[in-house]
Each structure stands twice: as structure tokens, then as C-alpha cells.
């Protein structure tokens, strides 16, 4: 069914495959850039992934001007503003983000401040507030989950006030995203599982949310197919380059889907849980996904039933039964991941104190994701879902 109205946008050039990183200086050249600032973190450096990036510059006329490798787990306004000063001081003309969602979102924030000629990211809170042409920006993800390399949003924390703020604009996309299987090979099994479930959550929520549309649907379905085929392999055998590249593509496709269709109650709850209890985003999404699907079953069972073939569920003639089968298949996948790498199945397993549920419910209502959820979500509704997810699988 065609929606009465939708918008779709993705301007990112995607380079995916064996030794894709080697194209990095060439792509900088196409963007008219010569001096790069690299934004990464200690995890990436410790895993030796920066060596692949540095070796790509051998013999190139482009150069790495400065490497910032102290990106915090949650990107912050303070770090973004400091990096903007560093970028200007080193006379860089290009930003390269190497890492997970935090590095990519930090880079997006830095690009906002530099491109707009300002010195404080806070000025640009909200949606569509950017006017200037962004500076050259290349994203190299090292996880396969957030899809931040193709999304119009950056989530950056104001550490002084203890809140995470979304910045949304079509101007913050990288110009280029490079998916090189070498960059995700070192991810440990549980992080691979959590980030893979993050990608699956993006795809499923994008597929049934209020702003679903034919173009984002096609990306969501591709992501769901790839996750079903390759996630378990990538978790079981981390050195399987084909599975790693497939999962990187799944995360990217899911990112394109949800950047346009947005997400719903699962993300609303996951963001609030991350804020209150520091549960990793992929873990929280994995816990909430079947509960969120069930919550929307009444209004969306026909749409969820369309996913049945992707999960190996026999559709039959009854949409509600098929949709329930899809939810069961999601639960089965989580159990398998729990068996392999102990990916938590409940909030209790993830270390969330039951006394925090009311705060999570309250905070989740202020998350923009709730707007796009098909079913209305009140405080009482959110709390009811949380109570189930606390100790039930």
C-alpha cells in the first residue's frame, strides 16, 4: 500500500567490499580534500584497526593531519566543541570517522559546528536547522548495527545536564561510507550479536512504523533477510569475512530504512534504558523487540505477517497467526544468541534494577521515536511493557 505522503532521502555514496578502505585517499580527492582529521576511539586503536586506515594513505597525496582517539562511549557536546577547535587549528579540510555510533555521531556534530561557522553545537538542537554546505566527511563503521553512516541523526549528550539530544538534518550525512570487512572482524561475539539485533530492530520497526514507505521497505526487507542469513554465522565465527560484510550491509540497509521511516516503542524504551541504566543500545533493543512487536500486533499484524517468509515462518491464511509466528522466530533468534554468547534476554539479566522501571517509562515518553509508533503509548502502557520485559523472555 502506498502511503498518502512520504519523504525519502539518502545522499551517501556507499563503497563495500574487500579492501574497500584502500579507496579512502581517492574518495578524499573526489571531495576536494587533502588534510583529514580522524575521529576514533581507544577500542578501534586497541584492535589495530587504525593500521588499515593509515596504510591506505601510503603513497597518497592526501594526508592524515590529526588523529583524535579519545572519543567517549557516549559522544558529548563538550568533545564535539573541542574537536571543532582542533580541526580549525590543524587546518583540516575533511573529517573521517572510524568506529561505532559514538565516533560517527561525534564526527557529525563536529561537521555541524565547523560547517555552520559556529563554536557551540547546542545552538543547532532540533530538526532541519542547518543551512551551510557540510565539509567533506567519510564514515568507516567498525560495528554492524547503528547504521549511523547513512542516517540523518546524531545523538550527542550534554554531560553537564545528563541528557542525550538528537540533532536531525539532511545536511549531516557523510558523503561516503566505506564498509570493509576487515574493520568488523575483531568484534567480540556478544557485541556482534547485540549490534546485529540493533540492525534487526531498526529494520523491523522501520517496516511497520507510521512512516513506512515503499523505498524504505525495500531496504528494511534486505536488512531482515541478511540478518536472518548471516548474524548467527558472524557471532559463531567472527573471522567469516562474508558474514561480516553481509552484516555490515544489513546494518547499512536498516540504517537507510529507519532514517526515513523512523523507529517506535522499542527504541523509545531502549534510549530511556540506556540513559537511566547504561544498558548498551543493541542489548536493550534486543530485549524489547518482541515485546514492541506484540504491543503493535493489533494495529500492524498484517504488515508484520509480511515478514513471515524472511523468518522461515509458514504464512498460511491468517495474518495474525503469521505475525505471531514472526515474533516467535525473533524470540528463537534471541535464545540462540543467548546460548552462543549470553546476550541478555531480560532487563533483569542486563542488570536493570526493577525500581528503575518507572523512571524508564516516564523518560521514554519524551523520546521522539514514540511519535512514529503505530499504537499510542502512555506511561501506563510503557510501564506494562517494561514489567514484562524485566523478567520474562
Amino acid at each position: 500500500m502506498i502511503p498518502e505522503y512520504y519523504e525519502f532521502f539518502c545522499s551517501v555514496k556507499i563503497i563495500s567490499g574487500k579492501k574497500a578502505l584502500s579507496n579512502l585517499p581517492y574518495e578524499m580527492g573526489l571531495l576536494g580534500a587533502k588534510k583529514a582529521m580522524i575521529i576514533t576511539d581507544q577500542g578501534v586503536v586497541g584492535a589495530g584497526l587504525m593500521e588499515y586506515v593509515k596504510s591506505a594513505f601510503e603513497g597518497a597525496t592526501q594526508e592524515i593531519s590529526v588523529i583524535f582517539d579519545q572519543t567517549p562511549i557516549d559522544s558529548s557536546v563538550k568533545v564535539v566543541n573541542e574537536l571543532a577547535v582542533l580541526y580549525r587549528g590543524k587546518e583540516c579540510d575533511c573529517i573521517i570517522a572510524v568506529g561505532g555510533g559514538s565516533c560517527l555521531d561525534t564526527a557529525k556534530g563536529v561537521n555541524i559546528v565547523i560547517s555552520e561557522g559556529n563554536d557551540d553545537l547546542m545552538v543547532f538542537q532540533g530538526m532541519d536547522r542547518l543551512a551551510a554546505t557540510p565539509k567533506p566527511f567519510i564514515a568507516i563503521p567498525t560495528t554492524a548495527g547503528t547504521g549511523s553512516e547513512v542516517t540523518a541523526a546524531a545523538v550527542i549528550a550534554d554531560t553537564e545536564r545528563g541528557v542525550k539530544m538528537p540533532f536531525i538534518s539532511h545536511k549531516i550525512f557523510p558523503q561516503v561510507a566505506i564498509l570493509d570487512p576487515r574493520m568488523t572482524l575483531t568484534m567480540p561475539p556478544r557485541i556482534t550479536a547485540a549490534t546485529g539485533m540493533d540492525a534487526l530492530t531498526h529494520a523491523i520497526e522501520a517496516y511497520y512504523d507510521l512512516q513506512k514507505n515503499p523505498i524504505s521497505d525495500s531496504f528494511a526487507l534486505t536488512a531482515i533477510r541478511l540478518v536472518n542469513k548471516y548474524l548467527i554465522s558472524a557471532v559463531k565465527n567472527g573471522s567469516d569475512e562474508q558474514a561480516r560484510l553481509a552484516m555490515a550491509n544489513a546494518a547499512l540497509c536498516a540504517g537507510i530504512a529507519f532514517s526515513n521511516s523512523m523507529v517506535g516503542i522499542v527504541h523509545g524504551l531502549a534510549h530511556a534504558t540506556g540513559g537511566c541504566c547504561h544498558v548498551p543500545h543493541g542489548v536493550a533493543n534486543s530485549i524489547y523487540l518482541p515485546w514492541g512487536m506484540e504491543y503493535n500486533l493489533e494495529k500492524r499484524h498484517e504488515i508484520i505477517a509480511e515478514l513471515a517468509p524472511y523468518f522461515g515462518v509458514t504464512a498460511g491464511s491468517d495474518a495474525r497467526t503469521a505475525a505471531s509466528g514472526v515474533i516467535r522466530a525473533v524470540r528463537d533468534m534471541r535464545r540462540e544468541l543467548n546460548d552462543i554468547c549470553k546476550l541478555p534476554l531480560t532487563l533483569k539479566d542486563a542488570g536493570v534494577d526493577e525500581t528503575k522501571l518507572e523512571l524508564i517509562a516516564k523518560n521514554s515518553l519524551n523520546d521522539g521515536s514514540m511519535t512514529y509508533n503505530p499504537e499510542e503509548v502512555t506511561y501506563e502502557d510503557a510501564l506494562a511493557v517494561l514489567k514484562k520485559a524485566w523478567d520474562k523472555e
Binding site: 505522503y5 512520504y6 519523504e7 538542537q125 532540533g126 530538526m127 532541519d128 536547522r129 541528557v163 539530544m165 538528537p166 536531525i168 512504523d209 507510521l210 512512516q211 523512523m262 515518553l365 519524551n366 523520546d367 521522539g368 514514540m370 511519535t371 512514529y372 503505530p374 499504537e375 499510542e376
Partner: protein, 180 residues
């Protein structure tokens, strides 16, 4: 001649839409202030709002727009016109604004369809959206609420009494607004 006529028609249609949006926003602002004094539901919703916060709802590029301020735990309607605000929710064009302000489209659908933008903290934007839904409950007829809300709102006997008070207070204001 035909060109002049069609240009006149276009300008006249735009002017009419702006007038309807102006009156609708006037009604919304006035109702927001009234309901914040009586409705426990709205009082609870705005309880966490920062005292003195100014919120603006308007239409790009040049209005109309209305703004409200939280004062002494309730809402004060500041009047019409563009002004500085802590949070601005702006419809991208007059047609998008008309759909929401005349009750043809719910605010969640407007956001889902990217018909409005937010300047400021999006969390506060969510709070404002929920508050406006409560205000609309007292402003719009039930058949519109049933059509545009994700879940039709429930009315207690106290709510019905508040709705009657809102209508009684609003009607003369709207008539004088329309005449102006």
C-alpha cells in the same frame, strides 16, 4: 487578464488559509490557557515543564504563530505573532498547518510525515505535542478526535464540564477574532 485573475485567486486562497490558521491558532492558545487551569490531566502533563518556558507554534515562512508561557504552574497565552521561544514547532507550509489545525490530521501524523520541524530540545517537543493533544481534546468534536488520534481520548464527567466551559469562553473570542 487570465494571468491576473489566477494570480488574484491564488493570493486570495492563500490569504483565506492564513486567516483560518490564524483563528485556529488563536483558539488553540486561548484553550491551552483555559484548560491548564481546570484539567488535572494537563496540569500533570505540564508539571515537569520548566517555569517560564516559552513555546511557539507557527507556520513558515511568516506565520501566523501563537506562543504560550508556563507561569505559576499554569499556561499563559502570550498572543499571536512570531517571537523568540525556547521551543518552536513550525509547519513547513500553510497547507500542512491547515490539515492539523482544522482537525483533519493528528499532530503525530504531521510529525511522521515531516510536515513540521522543531527548533530546540526534541524531548520538550514531545512534551508539547502531548500537551497539545490534551488541549485538542477539549477543542475538537469527538468525530475528529476519533479520526486523528492514535487512540481516541476518554472523557470523564469532569472533562465534559471543562469542555462546556471552554466552549462558552471561546465562542465570543472566536467571533470577535473572526470579525477582526
Amino acid at each position: 487578464m487570465n494571468g491576473l485573475l489566477s494570480s488574484f485567486k491564488r493570493e486570495s486562497a492563500y490569504g483565506s488559509k492564513k486567516a483560518v490558521a490564524h483563528i485556529s491558532l488563536l483558539a488553540l492558545g486561548s484553550t491551552f490557557e483555559l484548560v491548564s487551569k481546570y484539567s488535572k490531566e494537563l496540569k500533570k502533563e505540564i508539571a515537569d515543564w520548566q517555569e517560564g518556558i516559552v513555546l511557539l507554534l507557527g507556520v513558515l515562512p511568516n506565520g501566523p504563530a501563537m506562543s504560550v508561557k508556563k507561569e505559576n504552574g499554569a499556561i499563559r497565552f502570550l498572543g499571536m505573532g512570531m517571537r523568540d521561544a525556547d521551543l518552536k514547532v513550525l509547519f513547513k507550509n500553510i497547507d500542512s498547518a491547515m490539515m492539523v489545525l482544522t482537525g483533519m490530521m493528528g499532530s503525530h501524523t504531521a510529525f511522521a510525515q515531516f510536515r513540521a520541524i522543531v527548533y530546540g530540545n526534541l524531548g520538550v517537543g514531545m512534551q508539547m505535542s502531548r500537551a497539545l493533544n490534551i488541549v485538542q481534546k477539549f477543542l475538537l468534536p469527538s468525530f475528529m478526535l476519533n479520526k486523528t488520534f492514535k487512540r481516541p481520548p476518554e472523557f470523564s464527567s469532569e472533562d465534559m464540564w471543562i469542555k462546556a466551559k471552554v466552549m462558552a469562553a471561546l465562542t465570543p473570542k472566536m467571533i470577535s477574532g473572526a470579525l477582526r
